[in-house]
């Protein structure tokens, strides 16, 4: 502090001449709205945007694909089997090659989208709903309800799900609905455990106590205060499970107890294509890629969504890259 007046931060002309410009920091005026819209936020994140586009495409495919290409997907042509992909010689529908029965890979992939989703989504949905509600209920009430629920979860977790699959699929009938049932049943504990833990923690929160002081019934408290809070966590979990369920379905197909032909799912396509790995790699690669891309997209979007819907974390998304060090160290006046 030998020469305090030589403070480099003071404008040369003295502070009375120019009002210090350090007060207002240049704010991006375009961002004035207090809540940047979700969509707007999405567009700012390239990865999340790409993921969303992928998922929308997958969804659309599942919706309209079968009506557009349903016939094509079952049309066999025993004289044109295992045609390699990326050739238009056989027509556009064989751009991804043909399968071992001469069916268009493209069409089958498209049709399989619907089956795959119609297994994975309900399976995830059912286990999500049952597991979450049950877990929330058990965690909220604690005590014996919690203990018994957790023991039931233990039982399901250590139960061989394959046996269940065999029983349901052979004793009852091997339908997509039954696969959904098995997958849903065996994944319930995942949600049950998470929901229970969160709900047990929530039930001791002050705002829940507050609701109790009005005489609010437990069911109403769960509905109003617990479920909205645990939902984001459970939804994130559900996207991870989405991947798991697709893989489990393909493993079932591998063992011959999954989706049954002539229905077709990505998992089944990979499973059946595996024996052609050396002669016709495209039979298993494309559906495998479809699984990978969809789950990665779902997870990227879920991670993003979770941050985006959490008021406490939202800021992470809007950050630009860290400024370079030299800018950060610039004297104040130059910043303004």
């Amino acid at each position: 502090m030998s020469s305090p007046l030589a403070n480099p931060q003071l404008p040369p002309g003295g502070r009375s001449v120019t009002p210090p410009s350090t007060e207002v920091i240049a704010l991006p005026r375009t961002l004035d709205t207090s809540k940047p819209g979700l969509f707007h936020l999405l567009l700012k994140d390239r990865f999340a945007t790409a993921a969303a586009i992928v998922l929308v495409l997958v969804g659309l495919t599942a919706l309209v694909g079968p009506t557009l290409m349903g016939d094509l997907a079952t049309q066999q042509n025993l004289s044109a089997t295992n045609r390699p992909p990326f050739s238009l010689a056989e027509g556009w529908q064989f751009i991804l090659g043909s399968d071992s029965l001469g069916r268009s890979m493209l069409a089958r992939l498209v049709v399989a989208t619907q089956t795959t989703l119609s297994v994975a989504l309900p399976a995830v949905g059912i286990s999500l709903v049952i597991g979450s509600l049950w877990g929330v209920w058990a965690g909220f009430h604690r005590g014996w309800r919690e203990t018994i629920s957790m023991r039931i979860a233990d039982v399901i977790m250590s139960f061989p799900s394959l046996l269940l699959a065999v029983v349901v699929l052979y004793v009852f009938s091997p339908s997509a609905a039954n696969i959904v049932l098995i997958l849903a049943l065996t994944r319930i504990p995942i949600y049950l455990r998470t929901a229970r833990a969160e709900s047990a923690e929530l039930q001791s929160r002050t705002f829940v106590d507050a609701a109790r002081t009005f005489g609010t019934k437990p069911a109403a408290i769960i509905r109003r205060h617990v479920i909205p809070v645990v939902l984001p966590t459970l939804l994130t979990l559900a996207t991870l499970e989405f991947c798991y369920v697709m893989l489990a379905e393909s493993s079932l197909s591998f063992l011959g107890i999954g989706i049954q032909p002539p229905d077709v799912s990505w998992g089944l396509m990979v499973a059946q294509g595996r024996q052609y790995l050396q002669t016709a790699w495209w039979l298993s690669l494309f559906p495998g890629l479809a699984i990978v891309i969809t789950t990665v997209a779902a997870n990227v979007l879920a991670a993003w969504l979770r941050i985006a819907t959490d008021p406490a974390q939202r800021w992470r998304l809007t950050l630009k890259h860290k400024r370079k060090r030299f800018i950060a160290r610039m004297p104040v006046k130059e910043v303004a």
Partner: protein, 341 residues
């Protein structure tokens, strides 16, 4: 404002009190979704050995940010965007992380605001206390533990030999706060920053902790920066005070004088809000409104929206922190008029 700090320094340098910390024009910026905002805006103050300076202000005014900036422990979203932090002449803000780490501990100790959660739950208190010695003096685990016991005794933890292997959760809040203070003073730093060291504690424990801090200060002659929002605590513990508002220092000076005769309407408002001075049933004089949001600080004086003396100039020109009598400085266009209100 540098002039002021100098005047302060001249008057306090008197005895053996040396300038330890010199914060000069510190600016801290935080990157947020709504743009970059300044949590600390041109803050300057100094700390002298053997003395306590209090940073006083309401929640969110930037006290902790200032402390963290000094200690080089800002969150990833925050950056020091300007100013200097000289600790015994070295500008900490310009050091590389590696060099800077050499200062952390031997030169500068810090006690954090969220003291009760600051201890690592998975290590014993002894391990954590000894860590500084292991890092800076390269002691063995065994030797560090001996030092840890010593430290615990020094901060008044009973039966240190048996408690050195306890985990933080086995300690009460007051004990944990002692451990944290012990950690901060382990290597006899020249500067101790105590960020709300007693806010989470009971008054009886607070009294114990403040007594401990006073003793340590006398013993090692370190400079103390005490961060708090408690006027009474400042009145009892600090020598000088810097009152902060919305990232700026609005008034500095010796505690006694500032509290007896505040020059800034905000300081005045704070003093008036203290309930102890008003009888049962009477209304307290509260400051209307609330501090400006940092991303929306108006042009001109930061206090304009709540100030009873506000005039047009306040909405246009930000008052600089200017000397106002002995050792004091204030950032107000109308500090002179305050006494007449």
């Amino acid at each position: 404002m540098s002039t002021i700090t100098q005047t302060v320094s001249e008057s306090t340098v008197r005895a053996e009190n040396k300038l330890v910390l010199d914060v000069d024009g510190l600016v801290v910026e935080i990157r947020t979704p709504k743009g970059t905002l300044r949590a600390v805006n041109d803050v300057s103050f100094q700390a002298f050995s053997g003395r306590t300076i209090a940073l006083l202000g309401e929640s969110g005014c930037g006290k902790s940010m200032t402390a963290k900036a000094i200690a080089g422990l800002l969150d990833p979203v925050a950056d020091v965007a300007g100013g200097e932090v000289r600790l015994n002449g070295t500008d900490l803000a310009r050091l590389k992380p590696k060099e800077r780490r050499k200062f952390a501990g031997p030169e500068l100790g810090i006690v954090f605001q969220d003291a009760l959660t600051a201890l690592n739950p998975v290590y014993t208190v002894g391990t954590q206390l000894g860590e500084a010695f292991r890092i800076h003096h390269g002691l063995s685990a065994k030797a560090a533990k001996v030092k840890a016991v010593e430290l615990m005794r020094r901060v008044g933890i009973p039966e240190p030999e048996s408690r050195v292997d306890s985990y933080p959760h086995q300690f009460s809040g007051g004990m944990r706060q002692r451990v944290l203070i012990a950690m901060a003073v382990a290597l006899n730093p020249r500067l101790l920053i105590a960020d709300e060291p007693t806010t989470a504690l009971d008054v009886t424990v607070q009294a114990q902790i403040m007594a401990l801090l006073r003793d340590l200060r006398t013993e090692t002659h370190m400079a103390v920066v005490l961060i708090t929002h408690d006027l009474a605590l400042v009145a009892e513990e600090a020598d000088t005070v810097a009152v902060m508002y919305a990232g700026k220092v609005v008034e500095t000076g010796p505690v006694r004088e500032v509290f007896a005769r505040p020059h800034h309407p905000y300081t005045r408002g704070l003093l008036d809000s203290v309930p102890a001075n008003i009888g049962r049933g009477e209304d307290l004089k509260s400051i209307a409104g609330s501090p400006p949001e940092l991303h929306n600080i108006p042009v001109g004086c930061v206090y304009q929206s709540r100030c009873p003396l506000v005039q047009d100039i306040c909405r246009a020109v930000s008052p600089p922190l200017e000397p106002a009598g002995d050792d004091r400085a204030v950032a107000c266009h109308f500090s002179k008029e305050l006494d007449n209100v």
